[in-house]
Amino acid sequence: MIDFIVRRLIAIIPVLAVVAVFVFLMLRLTPGDPAAVIAGDNATSDQIADIREKLGLNEPIWTQFAIWIGNVLQGNFGESFFFKKTVAELIAQRIEPTLALAVCTLILAVVIAVPLGVLAAWRHGSLLDRVVMGFAVLGFSVPVFVIGYCLIYVFAIELGWLPVQGYTRIGVNFGQFVERMILPSITLAVVYIALIARITRASVLEVLNEDYIRTARAKGLSNRVVLMRHALRNAAVPILTVIGIGVALLIGGAVVTESVFGLPGLGRLTVEAVLSRDFPTIQTVILLFSVVYVVINLLIDVAYTLFDPRIRY
């Protein structure tokens, strides 16, 4: 087991190295002088020269990469010239809404989607199955922000039950925090629910044809026990895999959802940074999200063994 984790950890090094090279090259691929791009439109030539010196832009590109990756590994992501603070500070400030949104969405999606998928598979071909599958296809076809605006229109504007936009920090007022997380979480969860429900249905359906399910039924076990203990548990690996892959959707969706609901999180920061061409911030956010994505999928690989003892590493 330990051996496996170590091997998997080593395997993500080349992946993250490619990401790092891409993120590093981003600034070099933009037309124009990287120092001038970073400094922004109103920079003086002294400032540009200063940046050039700081980033080692006068050195050969290999040395530049070494300097940059060295800094990144020490947690020094540079300075945002737009927000006038270090990128590390900026991210620390903005991480809470994104984390809260992601966790709420993940819980909501799994709690809704897995039972739906199991029910759809169990009642295969029924009206319920068709409705769930129809919803799944629809969920993939509507942009996240449209779902967000529809929810805002119905629940915030017409019914007035929930606030339209904004964020309250969890430590400041928990009630308000919950109130303001409801609509964004539902919005972001829709596509994730569609994804998980679909795969849950497909993999439970496959398992339901197995001999051991027939045996379990023949023993006279109740439907609940057969579905939960025999079917779902054996179908867990593809479901977990897709939850891991879906994190990419979650991150992309968070960028949009935060913009719709005015949440001051990392997604909003990404868009603000792109609009102001604040490269140190864009680079760091992409690096951070990619590392999170890769690590979550690593953890899921490890978690397989917990769900399926047949998997031995």
């Binding site: 891409f22 922000f145 990419a248």
Partner: protein, 311 residues
Amino acid sequence: MSAITEEAVDSASIAAAATKRKSLWLVALRTPAVIFGGVILLVMLAIAILAPFLGTVDPTRIDPAARNKRPGTEITMRLDDGSTVKRVAIFGTDSLGRDVYSRVIYGTRVSLVIGVAVALASVAIGLVIGLISGYIRWADSIIMRIMDGLMAIPGILLAIALVSIWRAGLITVIFAIVVPDVPRVVRLVRSVVLTVREEPYVEGAISVGTPTWTLMFRHILPNTVAPLIVQGTFIAASAILAEAILSFLGIGIPPEIPSWGNIMAEGRTLFRVFPHNILYPAIFLALTVLAINIMGDGLRDTLDPKMSKKV
């Protein structure tokens, strides 16, 4: 974004089925899902081609006198020669007085072009890289490491990063949406190649001295067609969504081009009072993407016997 679907595509069985029975294509085209999706898409295509004849006006025409009109309002338009014409803005007008109906109708062109262009480009690029990767052993490990790295960056984020490098333009946006899709096509093609190259007829072809290029184009390439068509439909659907998302965030194609994403982006600020600016393009967008997705599902179920047994 189409990560969900390609995992389910069993490329080898599609490949085998497609080469064995050409008639499968006819079966595929007759499934209800494919017909349903196909008809909606044909209607959208007709709308895109016939846009100037569908009672539209210039979608970029700004009319300060007719700003923010609700759907169904009658508007008096002043023509260049000074005469006036009355017309009903069935989808209303936006905050610059542009006709939302005309913009949505013309937006069909932009979205379809993006869907098709992204699907073709990513399939073409992915096919070439995938063939190389599956066929040339030493290149394989390098290519696949790069693809793994690209896939580690969440799709929309990668597109956002690429747009930020070159600033927004139609071609830039298409390219930015293509790049995250390429690794998935490469993986698919590579897996087909790796399966097919073990087949006796390929070994036979090699043993009689068939040149590599002939081998690739005559024996290996045809096997990739069916899975790539299925994959291509899902890429087209997600590309249309991606364009809408990028434009909505203000980093997509230039705002003067009437795309569905841009119309909705424009409608954001006054959404509480005038939701129609978001509603109508959203309906068109959802319908189009839904049609493509349903068609893709139908094609996959028919072209992939293993999957269709399940459903």
